[in-house]
Symmetry: C2
């Protein structure tokens, strides 16, 4: 079951090799995500327009010069426009429509007569496509195309669609066969523009970008090898993800689009292999991606240090984009599991609860004495904006299009992937979902409208939900629970995902987590934050027992936040520990511990909303 | 007791506020370091000349243009010349003297009439001192000065000394008051040039460089904050080291020179405070410095991940330079302890046993599946050379000047800091040292010549030597064992430092080492290397007992290398460990272990001489 008026952020073509199809008619109405979307609409998006204006990106589009900001400053405007478009699709009003119109007309006016558009090149006189390894010309084009598709699908505004198609036509004609952007992104944009317009040349160009990559044709710059720009191994041959994490995710997502549109099952299998390797060896507990500040990049297998983690907010968003495409292609629940984990624990931490401050880097540990020099250092807390402002508008467009990720349809029914109160419309089916998720694991799904024939309602049972039940019968974690019947209006099924706090450990090869535990509760990863532990620094805390319990409200956090309480102890940091920190084990000296303390774990996404300070997701397990 | 003909690499002036004074007459003769010096002389230095030639750095000095290599390519020549000079001082021959003469004459001919010299600026026409944050003009000048001093002291060659003084005179006159190089180094060079020539203006300029720093006056470039270039906090106020580790070490060493020459005890105290903090919270077990590839930089307190460690070879050399100056200033044994640890375990790994391949980055763990993209990745093994070739010639000059670090004198006697077979001359005293150190802890010190009056022979007892004795009586680790008497020729004392393998653990705050142990033996840090463990990957090995024993020869390593054997086990990496690597602890599942295996630990400095592969300094302790 699907919806022809699909306004979804991803919309596979009619012949695409997909198992599931997105729905236009899924809506978040209140609850956890509804609150985040309201803040996004009322605070973050307006603030984003202001920050983009201050950065000079609108002035760049006026071609007034000199160019301000980074070479990719145009993309900040495009991502923000995409957020506005999806948000207008949810509920239009003049406060959104007016800035959308102004900015999209600015974009249109900046376009060259032949379709080219990249204000940095236009204002500096740099040669077109002369430095694609760094210039981000195609990267910006890709974001323009995604924004254009959003405007067209969400509100039928074709201003940007015209700009994007003229640019894409120019690219299809002008781009040298092996011209590759150092930063993938145009692949997704071209594929979606093809889906929106039916122009095959756009898909062909996207496919060319995917195929040409991996032959070390992109000129090297700086110290980085070809892997940094995903140009070391062809996508079709790669067995893992590598290099700059955002680039790797955008490339993989675009390659997935190409694979399903061209029914290239070999390419799809290669992507699934890379995804599995990423999940098994290069993914943080939060779903965050990218171990290294250097190159903003993946590390090697099991290289997942919590403190030096980069986990760029954009990489998490790219991961959601890739996993969503793989989910549509395959219908396998693991993709949806990672999407959920990533949304709650790697995307959402990128914006403050108030919606006005942002993390670029999402480390899993911040120590006392963390280095504060870099503006992106998590020890400094979220910032108002960044000189490289890719992350904030990326969060905006994801939150404003979040509804698209709730559910899908296929020939046999409806699949629910994420849980939020709201309505799901799929053809003749209308479902109503009521839930206090993620705080509660109870999810009531009521059939409001249904055709008079059997169909299957599928509901994802997350892999962590080992006590899940549906209508009081056990359900298998890591699957879709499927109920096939002829439904009647008013029929209801009740999921109970059995949410309770749990301790999590890592496999032995993940050496940075050896001897340590993390706390999770439902889809949420928790952390210890300094604000809840006065008189002792978080670095010295350890968990002293496996019994966890839900706490009550946490001072300074919204009342709905459920903390988790554990028994703990604090290492005593002794005077002699202040010298050389290594000593002979022959004279064993167990760490001294102060008396028992209650540890308060709070959801990781909510950290650093009460000032920045030491924090950790992993804590040592005591005795 | 000191030596007026001091040819030492550091030579405090007569009024300097130092406790100890270097000796010219300490000579390594054979043994562990003698072998390394022979390889350095016969293989590494000649090869270095060839590589420098290939890099275009000599052509740059011919001013033929266009400029080749990095902006700091001149410094490769200077460091190599410094190595040649010290090596000629040890034993001159035509194979060293001829290339020294050719290259130093090339340098002299390249100098501008007004004394300026920086081939990148000269060949590109870039403005002098217009981009000091990046240009490395003063950095290169500092290396030129050190090379010039070496030539003058070691062999009385004043060619480069003339060039260096003309450049320094120019700098003293031309440099704007707050002009600071992004990369410290000129401070050490100016201070030593002052010591060599007596020209006060050079010391004044060095002092100005130290004082002006830390006020965020250096223009920011790229993402880095001012801390990257040590420009966030004035040296006098800093409580820790931060930013680019090599820059931090060179600045601190130069500041120590300024402090002792100007009797600035406040500055010296600030440096000692920073050194203590570095040792307690930012130093790897190997002595390596710099946790982060990003910025080649220190991290925060206790941020010492073994796998992502940068530990640049140059940073270790800078650490030796700083600690040596602090040792001269204070006479405190901790400085010598760190020098020894660093030389064996952080400098020496930077060059292969054959002397012809180099590590830039010295990580403490390399996993199976480490990312190979960057040429510096330890997973790729040592390389023939690097595009940024700072490390190889830095190792060369350190090894060729290593004799200078063996011993010092003061008004009351002689202090032995490092142990190697050889001769120590200090005024009327001549000592002969015989030892198989570091393989054996037995050190025989025989007085060959002595004045007929009492003086004190001091011998460092390393902090790890908890079973040390002198002439069969216990000696206190972490001190200088002092024997004061009227010595007679033929008198001998025998140290036994009680070298045996030992397990080492870290303080609790050092979370990356929790539950793990390392193996050390004497001054050497050991590691597990893939080459010695066929059939299992190093990542899966753990130590299963505290009893260690010396092994016999290791296949593929020189016969004198003593391996350490430990009981161990290997984690069984199960099929299901190949998925998402995090799982609920509620169903506890101890890692399975295969039957007991012997673990072979080899000295860390010797790793990657039998091919590169997985390696670890830290291993989990089983049960």
């Amino acid at each position: 079951m699907s919806d022809d008026r699909m306004s979804s952020v991803v919309r596979p073509g009619p012949d695409a090799a997909v198992t599931l199809r997105p729905l236009a008619g899924a809506r978040v109405e209140g609850g956890f995500w509804g609150a985040r979307q309201r803040v996004n609409r009322e605070v973050t998006i307006p603030l984003g327009g202001e920050r983009v204006r201050e950065s000079g990106a609108f002035d760049n589009l006026r071609l007034a010069g000199p160019h301000r900001g980074k070479v990719f400053a145009d993309s900040d405007v495009y991502k923000w426009l995409e957020a506005l478009a999806w948000e207008r699709g949810r509920a239009d009003d003049d406060d959104l429509a007016r800035p959308y119109k102004e900015a999209s007309e600015l974009v249109a006016a900046a376009q060259c007569d032949d379709g080219y558009l990249h204000t940095h090149t236009q204002l500096t006189g740099a040669g077109r496509y002369s430095d694609l390894a760094s210039s981000h010309e195609l990267y910006c084009a890709g974001h323009l195309m995604q924004a254009a598709v959003a405007g067209s699908r969400a509100v039928g505004d074709r201003t940007l669609l015209g700009v994007a198609t003229r640019f894409a036509d120019h690219l299809a004609a002008a781009l040298a066969p092996h011209a590759l952007d150092g930063h993938p992104e145009v692949e997704m944009g071209l594929a979606e523009l093809h889906r929106e317009t039916g122009t095959r040349a756009y898909l062909d160009l996207a496919a060319r970008q995917v195929t040409a990559r991996g032959h070390a044709l992109i000129p090297l710059k700086g110290h980085h090898g070809p892997g940094y720009r995903q140009d070391r191994v062809p996508v079709r041959e790669a067995v893992t993800v590598e290099g700059h994490a955002v680039r790797a995710m955008y490339l993989a997502a675009g390659a997935a689009d190409v694979a399903v549109e061209t029914s290239d099952l070999e390419l799809l299998a290669a992507l699934e292999r890379q995804w599995q390797d990423m999940v098994a060896t290069k993914t943080y507990l939060t779903g965050g991606l990218g171990s290294n500040w250097y190159g903003e990049a993946f590390g090697g297998h099991h290289e997942l240090a919590p403190d030096t983690a980069y986990c760029e907010t954009c990489a998490a968003i790219g991961s959601v984009q890739w996993s969503w495409r793989m989910l549509l292609a395959t219908g396998a629940p693991g993709f949806a599991d990672l999407i959920e984990r990533t949304l709650y624990n790697a995307v959402l931490p990128g914006v403050s609860l108030g919606g006005d401050r942002f993390f670029y880097v999402n480390a899993l540990r911040v120590r006392a004495g963390a280095d504060p020099d870099d503006l992106r250092s998590p020890a400094r807390g979220r910032q108002d904006w960044y000189g490289t402002a890719c992350c904030p508008p990326n969060v905006m467009r994801l939150l404003s299009s979040l509804d698209h990720y709730l559910a899908t349809g296929d020939g046999d029914g409806v699949q629910l992937h994420l849980y939020a109160p709201g309505t799901v419309r799929a053809g003749f089916v209308v479902l109503e979902v009521a839930t206090g998720y993620p705080w509660s694991g109870r999810i009531e799904i009521t059939v409001r409208e249904t055709p008079d024939r059997p169909w299957t309602l599928s509901a994802r049972i997350p892999a962590w939900a080992d006590a899940a039940g549906v209508d009081d019968r056990p359900a298998e974690p890591g699957t879709y629970h499927r109920v096939r019947r002829t439904w009647r209006p008013g029929d209801r099924i009740v999921l109970d995902l059995g949410i309770r706090p749990r301790l999590t450990v890592a496999v032995p090869r993940l050496d940075v987590a050896r001897g340590q535990v993390a706390v999770e509760r439902g889809p949420l990863v928790y952390c210890l934050e300094q604000a809840d532990h006065p008189g002792v620094i978080v670095d010295d805390l350890c968990v002293a027992g496996a019994d966890l319990r839900d706490g009550t409200a946490v001072t300074g956090l919204p009342a709905e936040v459920v903390p988790v309480i554990a028994r703990g102890r604090a290492h005593v940091h002794r005077e002699e520990d202040g010298g050389f920190p290594y000593r002979t084990a022959a004279a064993p000296r167990e760490p001294e511990h102060a008396g028992p303390v209650d540890l308060t774990f709070v959801p990781y996404y909510a950290w650093a909303n009460r000032g920045a300070g030491p924090m950790t997701v992993w804590a040592p397990m005591h005795g």
